[in-house]
Symmetry: C2
DNA sequence: GCTCCTGCCTGCCGCTACGTGAGAGTCAAC
DNA sequence: GTTGACTCTCACGTAGCGGCAGGCAGGAGC
């Protein structure tokens, strides 16, 4: 019962190169060679190959497989547990990805065209997801962030357009107020600050006064946010910041 | 709004090296450089990076991402569909593996010790999985193969031992019959051929006469199967082959 | 002006698990 | 004795970076 590389390859469903490789790294060396140097695999080699392929299927790197197979003292149960954890994690990731892609497909089928490009188009230059990676780093484990993500995922293009319209309407009103010379702690400014909080609560996540003042601080601290508001009207970032704080204090 | 590599890396949650790499392969080149040669990323670059990371998350290779993003005529829906298929296939594989590993863990907890080594021990030299890879290539998309896999996955060590015992009993009887000189198309031989079919049906999958004659042909065509039967008794492969065909014809 | 620290630059080698030849020898068949 | 299939050993190529080395750049502190 001796087999050549080609035969083993066929039987095991791997390539000859793979067997050469396993020989090279000492994972599976044939038990003998012919006088011409041809590899000769026997049944024991085939069994070992089976083991190798089994662990490989489970995602073990070849080096570890070598260790597992060659070390009779190794605890197979421990390996299984670890592998089970790894697998379930990968499984979850994959499932999430499938869900994400199904969502994307659904959106594109409905002609809502919520591909990322479209979303950028809808969002204009103030994309809630523009700084998503950073947001995730900062707030990835907060309830608000998860809530926001959950809601955002369901929004249609129309929802986004309505959102944008409401935002722009609010923007026009606060710009007009600021231009009128009303101070940032005037009742009118505080009312618009309150409306700002409610817009966030309605569209993204329950925004408390505390969270809102945090946002306000960031509008000044993070130049990208500052730029966004300054771009609407010079001085707006600071004006909004003060109005939000004044409103939060008066409601406390 | 210009950012250095380090800033972009932090914001996007990738490493500087990754950005260098994306620049190298032309996937994401910063829109400018400082006089000192520092990369300068602007908001548009960040948006592109978002797209890149989005597709990367979905498992697209970088080269394809380049094509998708740079080619406005490319159909994102088609890409998504293809990716969805790939992912679901991988997902199914992973799920099967998790099931398998959970089964193995269960077994090891019960001290049944169904580690692969154990299974080889139980199977002796005629492991139903010995040629699994090839079997999958040949029959991977048949109902019989799936059915067999489903059943096999549930078998306990005791089941395997009973299976082996039944097989050996049948083996002894057919060897005895052949030794007695009864022709392969005798009623007794045909009866044992019938029993062979029922053994397969009981332990692995519903085996029709047609499928059984296919198996019989393979016992002669594939030297490994031939060797298995010839190892039990010289001439058995051909004898069984003829008996199976005779039985199938008489039942048709 | 000098030093220190941090961040940036460009190579370039390394990793996994093989794929894919090149060039040469081997084996069984016709 | 010649073909054709199979095998051998280099040895470079792949994807997606990680991680050095050696050398500028730029701001802070002395």
């Amino acid at each position: 019962m001796a087999y050549t590389v080609g035969q083993v390859a066929k039987v095991a469903g791997v390539t000859v190169r793979t067997l050469h490789h396993y020989d090279e790294i000492g994972l599976l060396s044939p038990s003998g060679r012919t006088s011409a140097g041809y590899r000769r695999y026997d049944d024991a080699d085939l069994q070992r190959l089976q083991l190798v392929l089994y662990y490989r299927e489970l995602g073990f790197p070849l080096e570890e497989i070598t260790a597992i197979i060659d070390d009779p003292a190794a605890d197979p149960a421990a390996h299984l547990r670890r592998q089970h954890e790894l697998l379930t994690v990968r499984l979850k990731r994959l499932q999430e990805m499938v869900t994400a892609i199904e969502f994307a497909m659904e959106a594109s089928k409905m002609n809502i065209q919520l591909t990322p490009e479209e979303r950028f188009e809808v969002f204009g230059d103030f994309d809630p997801e523009e700084h998503q990676a950073e947001a995730e780093q900062r707030w990835g484990d907060t309830d608000a962030y998860r809530e926001s993500n959950r809601r955002v995922a369901r929004y249609s293009k129309d929802d986004w357009l309505r959102n944008k319209a409401e935002n722009e309407d609010w923007g026009r009103r606060i710009v007009a107020l600021m231009a009128s010379g009303a101070p940032a702690d005037s009742p009118e400014a505080m009312e618009l600050a309150e409306e700002h909080r409610q817009l966030i609560s309605r569209w993204f996540y329950e925004c408390s006064y505390e969270m809102q003042t945090g946002l306000a601080d960031m509008y000044l601290a993070d130049e990208r946010f500052t730029a966004h508001y300054e771009n609407i009207a010079p001085g707006l970032a600071a004006y909004l910041h003060e109005a939000i704080h004044a409103n939060a204090i008066s409601r406390a």
